[in-house]
Symmetry: C2
Subunit: 339 residues, 2 copies
DNA sequence: ATAACCGACGTAAGCGCTTCCGGCCCAGTA
DNA sequence: TACTGGGCCGGAAGCGCTTACGTCGGTTAT
């Protein structure tokens, strides 16, 4: 069942069928209705390759993600959720999603090859290092790109992510409201945008609440568990240890809680902790981890929407940036019983 | 840079270039070498759509997965790992991966449409209900399909998954070796292949070790945490409660441990537990959860390989089934200190 | 009245590949 | 020597669409 047959059966030319199905204006309403109805009845599906070849628009967007991303766990934070969101939004537009994972041993950037082979309409990047020559090559391309949790630059690019700064501030505010005054933090790798923003939010909220900022209360982590444990031990060994700590990632936060209990402290009694990400384990450990939940599904839908804008807009000058709201999930680790 | 230009520059026809690059035999070694070298130098990339259109082979395989899968967590078990494995293997073959997620308000099976629009070379299914008419429609198609953790039937299909039966037996054997004689189990939803196999393995090992099988020691769960907690409570309330329980999923296992401690028991002191899946949280909770780890990355690579076989083989009559080995990860919850 | 215009459609030329069908040339055979 | 048979390659016909461009009636302006 190709377009010619459908054309024959509906008594028009293939050109008209194409126009009718693609919503072009040069078709009378009556003809269009007839064709659309017949197409549905016969289950006609345009061939994606032919369409792409002829129109040089693929209706395909690529998802580039680094399988080695420093996420602190084996799971990329909520890859699945992002995928669901992306697909939901893309389906509405009739677009497909193709994967361009960066698989370690990077075979001379196979994903770059892929991106060029398929004439992609857009690329979503998550957890990649945008300073590698390969990624820069993609960015230089006329293909619109949007970074998830990633501040991209260049023309035809945008970023979407959580409002990490406000989220971190919320966490600190929560702790402060519970009476804590000596609030420390364990950060992520500060070259990553979200990690830097979370630290900034922590500092900002301390200032806003006129709490003294102590350099020794800012210890560096890398999102992995071990650094969380190490960080907590360092904080507790301080002459004046904090009574609460905001940990910039849940994997670190869980390890930090255990480090605290291992050294004889109780959580939240001796030290309260709030994490970031709301990974599955946050609800499974005891005490339950108070943390910041991100709406990853919305990451996906937003990315799709932004990509569409980018494709439509005439060479946008300055990179857009969309910040999504987060949600504080209160469990036991912060010592609050409030919901 | 299209094939014609490359042809011109290398002084042959486009037909010869195509043959040279596709490894056809009708080209002299010298010509081929020249063309291949020039192609690499000029960075020539064949247009995927044109190639697919002309050859009706897409070099694309689809991944169908149900975003609502009953996995017990928000994360599909190791979707990411499977993707990495798949991609690694597919890249070697020069194939791409397109996603066909089943997104909740299933828009008249958009994935079926996609599968037909792109002329897919194969489909990998994970966590789908193969009894829905849509999936059956896909299976009826000449496209090769392989199910992950899913026993597919039909021509040109195969399944790959862990050897759940042996794995469950290993778990029981581990518990038995530690001295336990009253070993219970909390199962997954038994209409799912892996869940049924795990129960079968549990029973088989009991029999092999001449342990009495008690019906009240087999309680039904659904892979979700709540059912694990409920199951454990029920087991502990028995007149003769088990001293060890094999829980068929980690989310349930973690909840089961907590239910045990909540009712005043200690793990592993009063009741030992071993789980299944080795989710991230298994290493994060206290006590650490002894569990069965599956090699999800290998799921992906194996699926790709099987798909290739399926495509090559002349209408295979009986569905193949590949069982992958698992690994027992011993932590504290089983009461063993051995590695 | 004629000219200019517009909406609705058909014709045909691609899009960038693959592949069938030959054709040429040089061995090997009778 | 004439004939056959490969090996190697070019020509050209698609693959199933999209999209200029052209055409043809029927309006509207002049």
């Amino acid at each position: 069942m190709d377009i010619d047959e459908l054309a024959r059966r509906s008594g028009v030319s293939a050109a008209t069928v194409s126009r009718a199905l693609n919503g072009r204006p040069e078709v009378s309403a009556a003809t269009r209705a007839r064709i659309v109805a017949l197409a549905a009845e016969l289950g006609y599906r345009p061939n994606a390759s032919a369409r792409t070849l002829a129109s040089r628009r693929s209706e395909l967007i690529g998802l580039l993600w680094d399988t080695d991303y420093r996420s602190g766990g084996r799971q990329h934070p909520f890859l699945q959720e992002v995928l669901i969101g992306l697909k939901a939004a893309l389906s509405d537009r009739g677009q497909g999603l193709i994967l361009l994972p960066i698989v370690p041993p990077d075979d001379e950037a196979g994903y770059v090859r892929l991106a060029r082979q398929y004439t992609l309409d857009g690329i979503v990047m998550m957890g990649v290092d945008q300073h590698t020559p390969q990624v820069r090559a993609l960015l230089a391309t006329p293909i619109p790109c949007v970074g998830l949790d990633l501040a991209l630059d260049g023309p035809r690019t945008a970023s979407v992510g959580s409002d990490n700064r406000t989220a971190a501030a919320d966490a600190v505010a929560h702790l402060h409201a519970l009476g804590h005054r000596r609030i420390a933090t364990i950060t992520g790798p500060l070259d990553l945008w979200p990690a830097a923003e979370r630290l900034a939010g922590y500092r900002a909220e301390l200032a806003r609440r006129r709490l003294r900022r102590r350099p020794e209360y800012e210890v560096a982590g890398d999102f992995f568990a071990a650094s969380g444990a190490a960080g907590m031990r360092r904080l507790l060994d301080l002459p004046s240890p904090p009574t609460a700590v905001f940990v910039a990632g849940d994997a670190m936060a869980v390890a930090a809680m255990q480090a605290a209990t291992d050294t004889g402290r109780t959580v939240p009694g001796d030290v309260a902790v709030v994490g970031f990400d709301d990974i599955d384990a946050a609800a499974m450990v005891r005490p339950g981890l108070t943390t910041i939940a991100q709406d990853y599904r919305r990451f996906g839908t937003t990315a799709a929407a932004v990509l569409a804008e980018l494709a439509a807009a005439p060479t946008t000058d300055e990179p857009r940036s969309v910040l999504l709201p987060t949600r504080l999930v209160v469990r036991e680790s912060s010592g609050s019983t409030a919901i």
